[in-house]
């Protein structure tokens, strides 16, 4: 098996950890809130979310920021558990985009 895209500690090119303070965007705080709410309701576990991020397409994983990966894993798990369908999520996304424009 190849070494996972999430497990790069010590690899040449992995770079150092950015420990500078930075402001979270509103959508990032919302992503965290949705994640916590789903956990509190017992819908998902942290380990499931991690597994979903580990199973993502590697180039997509590398292209995403931290909270973009969170959102992608929330979507994966909600679809996997038959709570939402991909079609329902895409429909809602189209509604938001027509209302507020594309992100």
């Amino acid at each position: 098996m190849a070494r996972g895209h999430h497990d790069i500690g010590g690899l040449p090119g992995a770079g150092s950890i950015d420990v500078t303070e930075h402001q979270l965007a509103d959508w990032e705080i919302l992503a965290d809130a949705v994640n916590q709410a789903l956990g509190a309701r017992g819908v998902k576990r942290t380990d499931e979310m991690r597994r979903a991020r580990e199973e993502m397409d590697s180039s997509a994983y590398r292209d995403m920021t931290y909270y973009e990966r969170w959102i992608a894993s929330i979507e994966t798990i909600l679809i996997e558990k038959n709570i939402l369908t991909k079609a329902e999520i895409d429909k809602k996304l189209a509604e938001f985009e027509s209302k507020w424009g594309e992100p």
């Binding site: 500690g9 576990r45 580990e54």
Partner: protein
């Protein structure tokens, strides 16, 4: 983690020398690649926890696995170590460890 710890059924005690297994298989593995195959010692026994390798797939996490804080000399982990006397501390489950004499 974060849940109350009441017992530890694992094989190791603080101070025991251990070697991390070099395993690679499909699934959600909590043991980072860089520490697999390295030798260290048990720093602390946290207790028994549901197994994340099972929880990650929506299963019940049973049987519980004992989780340890395992210490390594930095010089034993990296080819080049900036500060050789520093330790590296990693959380590792019992089934990833084997005893060292």
């Amino acid at each position: 983690m974060g849940r109350a710890v009441t017992s530890a059924t694992g094989r190791f005690r603080p101070g025991d020398r251990v070697k991390v297994k070099f395993e690679d298989r499909p699934g959600h593995l909590r043991t980072p690649w860089y520490i697999r195959g390295k030798s260290g010692w048990i720093e602390k026994v946290y207790g028994d926890f549901l197994n994340p390798e099972s929880l990650a797939f929506g299963k019940d996490g049973l049987p519980k696995k004992t989780l340890y804080l395992v210490a390594f000399n930095q010089a034993d982990v990296w080819e080049k170590s900036a500060v050789p006397k520093d330790k590296l501390l990693v959380d590792i489950y019992d089934h990833w460890l084997e005893p060292l004499a």
